[in-house]
């Protein structure tokens, strides 16, 4: 659509600007403020320069949490994206089954995140949980409270259960936009199932897949509530992701300086990734 140049449109954006500035810019300023100061309590602050940032960048704890978070994000992407595509390809295309499938599949997305945690906390227990009980009954020793690997498995299965539907919904939206004529042409050419997927369906899903991958990456990169409820970051520190570590430092220990420095580094990473996302998106839109 051709848009008119009109700077008066600023008045329409003003409410959003004021509101988001209040809830985003002011808090961020506080964070910047704390990140360069030190305190001995009583609200007396003095300049600390880049001390906190240096400390942070040399702290093993921060890098370990970062590494854990990146590994987690890549694992869930590697499972959720192919699985989501596979399920979307097998979804019904028309009839009564479509809305039923959509609604049932979207159900996990609408559950409060701590309830998702609670569900899996119970479901995975080997005394009262269906999953834990039967996995143990199969002769596999599974206990997510004590074994770090089991804790990881639980958190990953939980995230796959929680968010694969998002990938399915987005891919499905991409798939239904493909006209029937494309498939007919492919069949006449004698294209194999794989060729249909590779040259018709995948290109049509590209845009939604991009959104799905980036949303899933961002959200798993800042995951907090679900693993916190299930494992509390343990056993040991094995499932302490960036957000959990940050909340421990900021609200648990009230170490304002280090927490603020960490927040800023964390936020800058997110900002960079959002920028990549936005640039890729707008370029993609411009090409079409």
């Amino acid at each position: 659509m051709e848009k008119t140049w009109n700077n008066k449109a600023w008045f329409l954006v003003l409410p959003v600007l004021v509101l988001v500035a209040f809830s985003a810019v002011i808090p961020l300023m506080t964070v910047v403020n704390y990140s360069v100061q030190d305190t001995f309590g009583n609200n007396v602050f003095f300049w600390a320069g880049t001390e906190w940032f240096e400390e942070l960048l040399h702290s093993d704890r921060f890098w370990e949490a970062m590494l854990r978070n990146l590994v987690f994000s890549f694992i869930i992407l590697a499972i959720e994206v192919p699985l989501g595509i596979f399920i979307a390809l097998n979804m019904p295309k028309k009839g009564w089954a479509v809305p039923v499938c959509l609604v049932l599949m979207a159900l996990p997305l609408l559950i409060p995140w701590n309830v998702v945690g609670t569900i899996w906390q119970v479901f995975g227990r080997n005394d009262i949980g269906l999953f834990g009980y039967y996995v143990n009954a199969l002769g596999i020793n599974y206990n997510y409270v004590q074994d770090p690997i089991d804790a990881w498995v639980t958190v990953i299965i939980m995230d796959v259960w929680h968010w694969t539907s998002l990938v399915v919904l987005l891919c499905y939206a991409g798939l239904v936009s493909i006209p029937d004529a494309f498939y007919q042409a492919a069949k006449i050419d004698g294209a194999s199932r794989w060729a249909v997927f590779r040259y018709i369906q995948l290109p049509k899903m590209q845009r939604v897949l991009l959104i799905a991958v980036l949303l899933r990456f961002m959200d798993s990169f800042m995951i907090y509530t679900e693993p916190f409820v299930v494992t509390g970051g343990g056993p040991g520190n094995s499932t302490t992701f960036l957000s959990i570590d940050l909340v421990k430092t900021a609200l648990g220990q009230f170490d304002l300086g280090p927490a603020a420095a960490m927040s800023l580094v964390y936020f800058l990473i997110i900002l960079l990734l959002s920028w990549v996302f936005y640039t890729v998106m707008t370029n993609y839109d411009a090409e079409r």
Partner: protein, 306 residues
């Protein structure tokens, strides 16, 4: 009938022409039969979705199952369905104010947040979908970054900001804090829907002598009613599922149900039945309203960009 026969032959002939052109010997009937055999319309299409849905529903079933059991049944043995079904757990929640007030608190701040988000997002989305103005792209990007911002980063500064205004433990504090990610989301979704409305409608209305507010309320808003519904749903949902910020900003008077649940887990760790019942009740609102927006779910999750 001669006519029908004639049509059939003509179709056959045209089918042959097409396949000849593509150096293939299939007729259209054969193509159609092949398509039916391959994938889409086979008799077994339902297996994958059904298996997936069953896997999704199992943990939820387990929660519902537990909510109808007594604590002694839950702890003593693993039963696949409640052998002595009880609604005692639900009765506890609906009669104990410390439980049901949590739901009321959650609903109050979620509704406040939805109203505020939509009210400010509507004009902004209109501006983004219709006009170019100084810094529009940067502003749009900045909004996106707020949707991507980790709540953990904002928990502490929010606490201090709202303390300074004396708003801690009020519903409006949580409602305003959740605007951080809901306003950008609402703007993106609404912008997507508004861009689907042809601009000629605006111009015709202005020529007919409509003022901007009157045009917006009388003509434009009914046109994007479904978009507003979807945006409302997503604001409602994301505010409903968020816990970290809501928990940080409240202590007692405005404590959301989600936070009350975590407290119960850590305090006793025993009352599984009530915990499960409370969990089931938090799933209900989403499950009830999702039917109305089923065709737009993907669009909402994709920030209005499908």
């Amino acid at each position: 009938m001669g006519g029908a026969n004639e049509r059939a032959t003509r179709q056959d002939r045209s089918g042959t022409t097409v396949s000849d052109g593509l150096a293939s010997t299939m007729s259209q009937d054969e193509v159609a039969r092949l398509m039916r055999r391959r994938g889409e319309e086979s008799r077994w299409w339902w297996i994958v979705p059904t298996v997936y849905i069953v896997v999704l529903l199992l943990p939820i079933y387990w929660l519902i199952n537990m909510s109808f059991k007594t604590n002694s049944e839950i702890v003593s043995s693993l039963t696949l369905y409640p052998h002595a079904p009880t609604i005692g757990n639900y009765v506890t929640i609906f009669t104990d104010p410390s439980w049901y007030k949590g739901y009321i608190n959650s609903i109050i701040y979620v509704v406040m947040n939805t109203v505020i988000s939509i009210a400010v997002a509507l004009p902004a989305a209109y501006a983004f979908s219709r006009y170019r103005f100084l810094g529009d792209k940067h502003l749009f990007f900045w909004l996106l970054t707020n949707r991507m911002a980790p709540p953990a980063v904002f928990a502490l500064p929010f606490f201090q900001l709202y303390s300074a205004f004396g708003l801690i433990d009020t519903h409006i504090a949580v409602a305003l804090a959740h605007c951080l990610f809901n306003v950008p989301l609402a703007v993106w979704i609404l912008e997507g829907f508004m861009s689907g409305v042809p601009k000629e409608i605006d111009e015709t209305a202005y020529i007919d002598g409509y003022s901007f507010p009157r045009f917006f309320l009388r003509i434009f808003m009914p046109l994007i009613a479904s978009g507003i519904g979807v945006a409302c749903f997503f604001c409602f949902m994301f505010s409903w599922v968020e816990l970290l910020i809501a928990r940080t900003l409240t202590t007692t008077a405005a404590k959301p149900i989600a936070a009350i649940m975590t407290r119960t887990v850590s305090a006793s760790g025993l009352d599984w039945g009530v915990l499960a019942a409370a969990g089931v009740l938090t799933i209900l609102p989403g499950a009830l309203v999702i039917w109305f927006v089923r065709n737009y779910i993907a669009k909402g999750f994709a920030l209005g960009r499908v």
